[in-house]
Point group: C2
């Protein structure tokens, strides 16, 4: 892959723009919903096909985080992510990847190491807030008994 010639069709341009302006890293259906507002006739096949094409041409990368959906990232440099265990939101971690880890782990297994992934798990700000409100509501209910 990675041939020069990537036809920048309207669909591909909008997909790329929406991934770039997304707060966090969207899944395929989040890309679809965003793009659909601008190109109402776009189809899910085009979303998936173009996401793959954009990956092949190094314009985006696919994040395989520990959940069932793929996430897409317009920043193609290697970096770590935080993932919300409640809503699935995926956000960048501003740290340089620890390249020495791969060398250090090389002797711990018989794999031919080609990379690593590090993922922080937690509650995103929005879900923390929802959690707190839920707890507050429960306290009121408990107190009323």
């Amino acid at each position: 892959m990675q041939n020069q010639e990537l036809r920048m069709t309207r669909q591909r341009r909008v997909i790329l723009e929406e991934i770039r302006s997304f707060d966090g890293h969207p899944t395929a259906d989040e890309v679809y919903e965003a793009v659909r507002k601008r190109l109402p006739r776009i189809s899910m096949s085009t979303i998936y096909r173009d996401l793959e094409t954009l990956c092949d041409h190094g314009r985006i990368q696919v994040l395989e985080v520990g959940c069932s959906k793929k996430h897409f990232d317009a920043d193609t440099k290697d970096h770590y992510h935080a993932r919300c265990i409640r809503c699935g939101r995926v956000t960048n971690l501003p740290v340089q990847p620890f390249s020495y880890l791969e060398q250090a782990f090389r002797d711990l297994c018989d794999y031919k190491v080609v990379g690593h992934r590090l993922e922080l798990l937690g509650l995103c700000p929005a879900c923390q807030k929802a959690e707190e409100e839920r707890e507050a509501a429960e306290d009121i209910t408990d107190a009323a008994k």
Copy 2:
């Protein structure tokens, strides 16, 4: 969850035994194939249901590695894994998880951190071997031209 009373039915016992004796950490369908040799009438629903039940009771853990399938691990202590990018095989990494990472990353994002996952990516021994053989075969083909 995590109630005392877990009925150790024949199905559950065999599922647990097969996960324990598996080389690496099997997916649900690998568990199914293994268990089926001993209990030919077992159904996929039972596999999934019992895997979940065993998780709920802390007898196994589910590994959410960066791929579409869940893997199951009879070792419920936190640990890191290596995953083969070719065949998907998941194997333990004999290292203590770096607990300090979570504290260190806490200030890098606005998430309420509850854990982290580290995954080494590479080629497992079997896939390395297959790769080498494929390359050797290609060399012969090239030379014959």
